[in-house]
Subunit: 343 residues, 2 copies
């Protein structure tokens, strides 16, 4: 177990001072080429690694951002982390990950905690409980940039990046309508999330414009995924003549897909299925699910780049950024419009 070697050790062995060694390693013009060479050789010989903690104490920069998210699920989140990590790595930043477990209380704690960690910025995906943003503003006032990611607050107008949920659901509705589907079932998640509100609104707007709102279509929200089987039982009975189902998320999609095939219903023959999805699960299911691609990678990458630019002072924009999600046309939606219309 070797002692960790410091700049002082190098200085002592070279018969110089820490300041010169520091400058030499930083390639400062104040030190001669000869000295730079000697320093570098010794540093390499001892495999010297600068202590970034000490450095950050002095420079007040840590090159670290914190990511706080409600939970780590298997759909959207991994890709988002991937995007965040690559953007961070590109800028030589590190990222620390924390979970709020969807609890406002824990979110507040973590915000204070990362502040004590003196990170350069924080990426925050708010919990379902987060309405008031006092705890966020509290940290923000200290000068630590905070950027909301994916899950934004509804009431406040804090800067953040996410996809345009309204638009995504709106275009999904249009796609179904344009493929001749007149009776739709829309399945949504927890209604207390702004994400749900927006997507539902977009879908509703589409149905309104296409004149599908009051003709055997329906929209429903399931808070717990466990409720889905029984909800679908009711739905498939009450709206048996619906031709297409839309789900606002991957989780709802895979479970809906499962429930349909479990009942022996075929996709897209008996029901068409469409979703807003991260873009992976659609390829695991048969037939591949037509979806609006909500890329976790892009959201993560864009948000992290913005935040770091903010930290580096390259950018002063503190706006909300919404990404548009492209449509990915696969095999789960039947084109009824191609058939002769029965009047």
């Amino acid at each position: 177990m070797m002692k960790r070697i410091t700049i002082k050790d190098l200085a002592a062995e070279l018969g110089t001072t820490p300041s010169t060694v520091s400058r030499a390693l930083a390639d400062n013009h104040q030190v001669s080429d000869e000295m730079k060479l000697r320093v570098r050789e010794l540093a390499h010989k001892y495999n010297y690694q600068p202590n970034k903690r000490a450095k950050s104490l002095r420079t007040r920069r840590t090159d670290t951002i914190a990511l706080i998210l409600p939970e780590i699920n298997s759909f959207f989140v991994p890709e988002m982390i991937f995007g965040i990590n690559t953007a961070a790595a590109k800028n030589n930043f590190s990222v620390m990950i924390f979970q709020s477990d969807n609890l406002l209380e824990r979110e507040s704690e973590l915000l204070r905690y990362v502040h004590s960690l003196a990170v350069d910025g924080v990426l925050l995906s708010v919990t379902e409980e987060t309405k008031d943003v006092a705890h966020i503003e509290e940290i923000r006032q200290t000068g630590t940039p905070i950027l909301l990611i994916d899950k934004l607050t509804g009431t406040s107008n804090l800067p953040g990046v996410s996809i345009n949920g309204f638009d995504a659901a709106y275009r999904a509705g249009n796609y179904l309508a344009e493929h001749g589907h007149r009776k739709l079932i829309g399945i949504f998640g927890n209604p207390s999330l702004t994400m749900t509100v927006q997507r539902r609104a977009g879908f509703e707007q589409s149905m309104l414009e296409k004149g599908l709102l009051n003709g055997g279509s329906c929209m429903i929200e399931v808070e717990q995924i466990l409720e889905l089987p029984s909800v679908l039982d009711t739905l498939l009975h009450d709206f048996a003549d619906a031709t297409a189902i839309f789900t606002m998320s991957d989780e709802l999609m895979v479970h809906t897909h499962f429930e349909l095939t479990r009942r022996g219903l075929r996709i897209p023959d008996d029901f068409s299925l469409m979703a807003i999805s991260d873009g992976f699960a659609p390829y695991y299911l048969h037939p591949n699910i037509t979806h609006i691609h909500h890329s976790g990678f892009e959201v993560g990458y864009a948000a992290t780049s913005m935040l770091i630019n903010n930290v580096l002072g390259k950018s002063g924009t503190k706006e909300r950024k919404v990404l548009v999600a492209p449509l990915c046309q696969l095999q789960s939606v039947a084109n009824l419009a191609a058939l002769p219309v029965v009047s």
Copy 2:
């Protein structure tokens, strides 16, 4: 933008010194109850947050561990991160995440980098390229505990935690054999991974003991998931009378499931399907896939607990720990043994 308030500021306002404030906040017996009260009140009034970087510089403890993994996929990894995070949070530790992109070169860089970050320990999931462990030992010699996680090295005997892949695959093979399957197809991943070697060996051992090795069964390795469709084409043709398929991972499982259903083959009527899985995807697919549950959460949690105990000096064990993966019996395996045996 308020200046960050420090222990000095508190001391100045209270007419005392930083040392007393520090002790007061630490509830040290050397300071009077009255002073403690005054300090706490002021600290609360100003919402004082101690600077952990400064603290860690002095105490030589950062309460942070680093996690380095080859990639962030959607199957095993998210749950493992979840497990790591909860174990860390329980001990008031933070975790930083880095990706090596499955490159040995990058792994070395990251190892040096996290060392310069002065983390208290590191969780390392090695790349497929990692044979030599010099770069790992280099950091280890400095006193930073390193624990391998999930993906271990084959040659060296560095401490680590993972599941018993041999045993998992062995029991999967037994399960299939005991359910009357005599001709099996085993599908495995990249053969250069020790994980693959072990699982394959376990499956082979089972087939050997059950006498299935040379009777129309086969084992195959696919390096790239993209190869799977064509590989299955060949397999299903050459081994058309096989009754069960085993896949060593989630990724192989979902794609195999897809390829089967795409071809109109029914599970388990035409083929039984079994896998080693993280335990989520089996429930998305129909029918639910019988699997050996390789819990990412448990692996992550166990490893992190071990590492932190090591950091805290509570434990000196530097062994390898293998977890056993329980069998989860669902609907994808037909019981042929219940049928009368045709002689």
